[in-house]
Subunit: 603 residues, 2 copies
């Protein structure tokens, strides 16, 4: 088995000697081998489901810590390590250290890469100095640095193969997301929606680092790679200038629509799926129009970047309900029909089920009953507002106007879910979703654009829904019907990515630092363990020496933990999160650690 | 049981409502309760022995991690937490954060104290920004900050009760050691032997923070609190001006003799025992004479500071063989006689057994066979060099002269052991010693004194003994005979403090980050676990809910790990340690975590 792995006689360093043309095939093979965790989400479908089942509902209570590793970096640790053969690749927040660890030797450091970056990038990172992980293909590890430099490292020794500058931090453009390798390309987005960047996704050749294509979130069709006739939205061609005509003047040039989520890919359709973020500024009064294509689900051809379809979830955003959250691909029977679904849990509190072949909207339901800014998404195909959320005027910050504090909006700006990715189990047919259960007061104000300066234009405060104490829930969701199957309350937002396994165990982490394992069918808690620091990393699993391991990065931070991470204490700081999550300091302190779990017994 | 503990109805916060006059009695009681770990060393005798035996040689292999905690601070974590009732007190290196953690709730943070200190103290800390822990008495937690401020905190809420300024960082005076509470006094020393400080120990009233007495390591008898007639050395009165007459002119005023070790105390004799460090500068040519009382074991009356006896181990130091290492008190049968012994493993590579009632030298033998700078300690009472090491001219840096590189001296400046404390088991009668197995080249050069600037005057490089790879050994030592009973080679210096238990298990940590458990009788390895970062903390144990726990701080650093901790890369930096320990970067990265172990099963 694993005959495609060449293991050096020095041991431990496994790499793949295949051509770039086969990178896609190589990655698909690796992602099908449950022993590896070769992509940020485990597979192209972004299901974060593993067929490993040595750890199951019957024995998970016996789980124990096998080994641990400190990254040497504090602040928020999002993302997850990769495992390719005998090597684990671990990343850190800024300064974005990458370690290759020897799984045959309790994580001995095979190599370490630490980029030299201008620390001036830190102040233009809105929501902690996070990085969501590295990608692998073609014998290379791809790291997307905070300073928006994409670097390809030799997976054997960490040496730099090539670098590509994808953005300019002096304009507020930064890198926080994991790069995604699809076919012979490595694809990255951009962060900086709070600084008036113009979002884009860009594909680079994995061999050379040469730019192949770039598709912007907004602007002329030539920039967005939208075809007025062929690109559809809810089944209809979008028409010419579909983006620019929804903006006033040149505002689209600083229009946001950042692209820092988890991308998925359907090899059969050759389409990649991702979401674009909030329009800039957050003050809706300053940017009339639908602000397309911010807040949009995108389907792009991977070879050319050409847009197959788009669906804007939150036209003319008034709450910072970024659309960047991941798209999870599966096949599901909906209304008696087998559908290639795309499921997306949006910041705006609605969970969307679409037909990913054509962008048809199938289900759009609230996945937190407290969501109040819109009554529903209009599902009436003959309605002029078909596919749009029906906004409640009381919670419309545009309607209430500048310098008016709109109170009691649910969810808060960080959404019913943020970047923390959900998982899908084909065995239960359910989605496991780490959620925020947070409301806000939101006061827009006029702001001027200056390159590299915050372009937010709103003051926020966040808090749990009135009368409740829990700021998060971990839920199981049926995307066929749009219903919550079970829900586990958590004191704080669940800012960790979920993992589902064939052992019918679902894992997630909490901001207090617990790794928890629950029954996939019932949500019953089966195991918990207090890791060194709050968890905002994503749980992953791999097999080594016939033993299943579960691993997660601890390191409190991210938007929810920005108060702790950056030492902020004023309640409105951190885009409103500092006050809301102030109690977190009673549970955990900064850290940066990997904890690896396994069942007892010999390898 | 534990009827002397008042537990608040809010739970978790246990404190002791006893008068200051009883602090000593209170601490002795607490130290006799194996459930608590109430002093830095577990008890006044500095044995680091626990009578707990739930974890034993038969089951220790089943040990697993119960919970963990990140301190939020990187760099070297020396020392150990305290446990008093239901609360654990954890400290960190600079900025010297103290946490009170709730043992009933997986280490929930009851309170946190973070002093505000001028970061300019960092450059005057020779050997990482370490702190060796807090002390408890009379409802207060005592912290000795890096800036040499001693602070008393209310153990219930972390509020400041009093502070006392014990030194001046602008002169190179810093605090790194744990305070020691004895009777109604809290006693601290001073660090800064590399900056020409004049060492002292100072006693403060635990109620008020008022200074009670101070005894200097050098200077007039009125400063040292030496009585020319009553204070003895090797059985004889030391005579008048015993210190000043061994220095040229006023050199004693910048003469070193720092006092940053672990102090012990004999309640029956009312004597405290500690060691003084190197004379300043390291260049021996610049300071003729024996440089008394640097490099000395001290016995002082706790009430007055009066000196009962002294013994200078390394007169006129030429190698930085500080005498600060701990004094371990026990009763042992030596030559058919029951003796109140004091055992001390000195940096100079000799292990000393003395009668602590009078300072009589009983045994002085090398505890690393590679020690070569002296052939032996002269044990001939009628010899004029009685009690002195017989120095080998080849390894005498004074003899070889300034600007001459004396090569191949063993041990290196950091000694056959440094601050990492040994343990003693009364059940085996053996001492368990974490050692360095390192040699050096040493080149003295002329240096001028400037307050607050390094006053070292030597360039060093360190390396394992020629032909060997292991830079450390963990040994069992028979102090009655002065012989190694067993020895476990370790790749790096064992810079973690040892713990011995009645389960006949001995614990220690390694610079790679392993916690190891070995059989007290045979040294056989029974368990190991890779913690997040290199261990230079001291292993401790406690009982909670009828379950025995073992805990240790990870966080690589200290002198041995200074290259990693401070990001130094030139081999001669870090007083010679950077090059010697360069390979450490292949095993671990910076961290700051507590790992708590227990056997599986319910509480």
């Amino acid at each position: 088995m694993r005959s495609y792995l060449l293991t050096s006689c020095l041991g431990a360093v496994a790499f793949l000697a295949v051509g770039a043309a086969n990178a896609n095939e190589e990655l698909i093979k690796l992602s099908q081998n449950p022993g590896d965790w070769a992509m940020p989400a485990g597979n192209y479908a972004n299901t974060r489901f593993s067929t490993l089942k040595q750890i199951d509902t019957g024995n998970v209570r016996k789980l124990q810590v096998a080994w641990t590793f400190s990254t040497g970096v504090l602040r928020g640790h999002e993302g997850a390590p990769l495992v390719i053969g005998d090597v684990m690749y671990v990343h850190s927040p800024f300064p974005n250290v990458v370690y290759a660890l020897d799984l045959n030797n309790d994580g001995k450091i095979l190599w370490k890469y630490e980029p030299k970056q201008d620390p001036n990038v830190i102040p233009v990172m809105c929501c902690d100095t996070v990085n969501r992980g590295v990608s692998y293909a073609d014998g290379k590890i791809f790291l997307y640095q905070a300073d928006a430099t994409l670097v390809a490292l030799n997976a054997k020794d960490g040496s730099v193969v090539w670098t590509a500058k994808n953005g300019d931090p002096s304009k507020g453009e930064t890198g926080t997301s994991a790069p995604h390798v699809i076919k012979d390309k490595v694809i990255v987005g951009i962060s900086g929606g709070e600084f008036g960047v113009r979002g884009s996704v860009t594909a680079y050749d994995i061999k050379t680092g040469q730019k192949v294509w770039r598709g912007y979130s907004m602007g002329p069709d030539s920039d967005t790679l939208i075809d007025p006739e062929k690109t559809t939205s809810l089944g209809k061609p979008v028409g010419a200038d579909s983006s620019t005509k929804t903006w006033e003047g040149d505002q689209w040039k600083i229009g946001g629509g950042a692209t820092w989520g988890w991308y998925s890919y359907d090899p059969q359709l050759n389409l990649m799926y991702y979401g674009s973020g909030n329009p800039s500024t957050w003050n809706p009064k300053q940017r009339p129009g639908d602000n397309k294509w911010s807040m949009t689900i995108w389907a792009r051809d991977v070879d050319t970047g050409a847009v197959k379809w788009v669906y804007q979830m939150t036209p003319h955003d008034e709450w910072d309900f970024d659309g960047v959250n991941e798209m999870i691909l599966a096949e599901q029977n909906i209304g008696g029909k087998q559908v290639k679904t795309l499921v997306h849990f949006d910041r705006n509190g609605f969970a969307y089920t679409l037909d990913r072949t054509n962008g048809e909207l199938l289900v759009a339901e609230k996945y937190d009953p407290k969501v109040n800014w819109a009554t529903k998404v209009d599902m009436n195909k003959s309605s002029p507002t078909y596919g749009r959320p029906l906004v409640v005027p009381q919670y419309s910050t545009e309607h209430n106007g500048e310098d008016v504090n709109s109170k009691g909006i649910c969810p808060a700006a960080l959404g019913s879910k943020d970047e923390q990715p959900a998982a899908f189990s084909p065995e239960t047919g359910l989605y496991y979703v780490p959620t925020n259960h947070v409301c806000m007061d939101y006061e827009p104000f006029k702001v001027s654009y200056t390159a590299g300066q915050p372009y937010v234009g709103a003051t926020l405060s966040m808090y749990p829904p009135p009368g409740e104490n829990n700021m998060g829930n971990f839920i199981a969701w049926d995307a066929r019907t749009g219903k919550i199957v079970w829900s586990i309350p958590e004191q704080f937002s669940v800012w960790s990515g979920a993992l589902a396994t064939a052992g019918n165990v679902v894992f997630y982490g909490t901001l207090e630092g617990y790794l928890k394992a629950v029954d996939a069918k019932t949500g019953k808690e089966l195991y918990k363990f207090k890791t060194p620091s709050g968890i905002i990393g994503n749980v992953m699993t791999y097999e080594h020496g016939n033993k299943q391991y579960v691993a997660v990065l601890s390191g409190v931070g991210g938007w929810a933990g920005i108060g702790l991470a950056a030492g902020l204490t004023k309640p409105n700081e951190g885009l409103g999160a500092v006050g809301g999550y102030a109690a977190l300091k009673n549970y955990t302190a900064l850290g940066g650690q990997l904890t690896v779990f396994a069942l007892p017994g010999r390898e």
